[in-house]
């Protein structure tokens, strides 16, 4: 493919769908509950042959581009359904194929319900870090993260987090991942996560598009409920006498406001350098695209017959590596575009127009970034939150700083 843009940045993160099913039935899941239903035709688990072929392709890609450090995300579905022995095989096989001159770091992103001592011993032996998804306290988590029979997943996840945050496995603790629900009190959610003493937490915006907007995100640009929610978290986090943990989305915005570069795809203009491999070996784009439309993440490539370089040439990958030039025209005219970077790519989708739109969260991102910019520059924060509103049980934030 000819392309006048900058040279492609090689992939340095490989997201492996080691298991395509999940033991939870979270109602907001982009894999099972949104537009794309390709999970149903995938093998449940990544076979040893696909693992080997993926490892060979990763080694080939890193060698060809002179990359000596890369990360592998063990993902799903719920990756722990693959079992400890199979996950151990994935890690050892990929490291063996990468060779001694290449450092592969591993992280598993799990709902935690199957994370027991046996599993953690395997991860400890192979230095696999563990990120856990949890939305806050029990009430917040039970809103969405339930088992197929409707039972709560919270107690099992808490048991796992007690183990993971204890002294033996603490070094493996990668962080907590929560999805924002506007009905949840933001400060309560943050403080509930903080109880596990995570090294970092992140609050993900629920997936949605212009065609299928996120809950509570109206077409009114003056309405910024997600910014308001995150600003409440920001004020609690930013004003603490000592930094209690990292809050990834907020920290990345601060870094960008100070002239640095983001390390995540959700904000900023750093080139996206990751790729997904499904259980059957198909190479896919970022899998959150599955929220947009069926087949949105597909490339038509597979580790059995294609090099990762072929995926580097895919237009969506190129768009994610072009920086400002990859943004819609409306974004380029906005003073915040260096910081928001157009937001998460799937959130730009509108049926009939594709991805050439600002994010469906544009108004929220604009307000959030503006608030953080003013606070860094010395503007006072809002007054302390009032008492919880008895109707919603949410604390009422004071008016934002001017």
């Amino acid at each position: 493919m000819t392309d006048a843009g900058p040279a492609p940045v090689p992939f340095q993160e490989f997201v492996l769908k080691v298991h395509s099913r999940c033991n939870l039935a979270c109602d907001y899941c982009y894999v099972y509950e949104m537009a794309d239903q390709s999970w149903a035709r995938r093998p449940r688990v990544m076979s040893a042959e696909v693992v080997r072929r993926t490892g060979e392709r990763i080694a080939e890609h890193l060698r060809d581009h002179g990359v000596t450090e890369a990360s592998v995300v063990l993902h799903g579905g719920e990756p722990l359904l693959a079992g400890a022995r199979r996950l151990e095989h994935v890690v050892t096989e990929l490291r063996r194929l990468a060779g001694a001159g290449t450092a592969l770091s591993f992280v598993v992103q799990t709902n935690g319900t199957l994370l027991d001592q046996d599993m953690l011993e395997v991860f400890r032996r192979h230095d696999v870090r563990v990120g856990v998804s949890l939305d806050g306290d029990r009430a917040a988590t039970d809103r969405h993260r339930r088992r197929p029979d409707g039972a709560s997943s919270y107690p099992a996840t808490v048991r796992a987090l007690d183990l993971l945050s204890g002294p033996r496995y603490r070094s493996l603790f990668a962080g907590l991942l929560a999805t924002v629900d506007l009905r949840t009190d933001p400060v309560r959610a943050y403080e509930a996560l903080l109880e596990f003493d995570p090294p970092v937490v992140d609050f993900l915006l629920p997936h949605g598009t212009w065609t299928d907007p996120p809950p509570g995100r109206s077409a009114d640009p003056a309405s910024t409920p997600y910014a308001d929610w995150l600003i409440a978290v920001f004020e609690r986090w930013y004003a603490a006498p000592r930094r209690e943990t990292g809050v990834r989305i907020l920290e990345e915005i601060l870094v960008l406001l100070l002239g640095g570069a983001s390390r995540v795809e959700s904000v900023g203009l750093s080139p996206a350098a990751f790729v997904v491999v499904e259980t059957d070996g198909e190479i896919e784009l970022v899998d959150t695209l599955k929220a947009a439309y069926p087949g949105a993440a597909a490339t038509g490539l597979t580790v059995h017959s294609d090099r990762f370089d072929a995926a580097l040439a895919h237009p969506a990958v190129r768009a994610g590596q072009r920086g400002v030039a990859g943004l819609p025209g409306a974004c380029r005219a906005c003073p915040a575009h260096q910081v928001c970077g157009g937001g998460l790519y799937p959130h730009r989708f509108r049926a009939g127009r594709g991805f050439d739109n600002p994010s469906v969260y544009c108004a929220d991102l604009y307000r959030l970034i503006g608030h953080l910019a003013r606070r860094v520059a010395g503007a006072p924060g809002p007054p302390p939150a009032g008492p919880p509103d008895p109707a919603t049980e949410r604390t009422v934030p004071g008016p934002a700083a001017a």
Binding site: V9, Q12, H65, G66, V67, E69, A70, S71, V72, V73, H75, S105, F106, V107, Q109, R129, V130, G131, A174, G175, L177, V200, D202, L204, Y238, A239, A240, R243, G246, R248, E251, E252, L254, V255, L256, L257, L258, G259, G260, A261, R263, V264, E265, G268, S270, P271, A272, A273, F274, V286, A336, Q338, V339, I369, G370, A373, R374, V376, A377, A379
Partner: protein, 82 residues
């Protein structure tokens, strides 16, 4: 770094902080802000190119920026984790 901050100017809120003010914030800002300033400075000093990672996980972020074949070598960032 100051040059890059000027490029990132945002609306009426000054995101362009003169190095002198940044120095002051690095001393007297909130602990969160001081942490962020240390990271920005470490990464600017390290050279290389920061790449964006998969959003749907929290770990696995290497501590050193990618040093491509055409990127200047550097000591690497001195802070662990995101």
């Amino acid at each position: 770094m100051a040059e890059r901050m000027r490029e990132a100017e945002f609306g009426s809120a000054p995101t362009i902080l003169p190095d002198q003010l940044l120095d002051e914030l690095a001393e007297n800002g909130t602990d969160v802000l001081r942490h962020v300033i240390r990271r920005v400075r470490a990464e600017a000093g390290a050279g290389g190119r920061i790449v964006a990672r998969f959003n749907n996980q929290n770990g696995g972020v290497p501590t050193a920026p990618y040093l491509g074949r055409d990127a200047p070598a550097g000591p690497g960032a001195d802070e662990a984790g995101p």
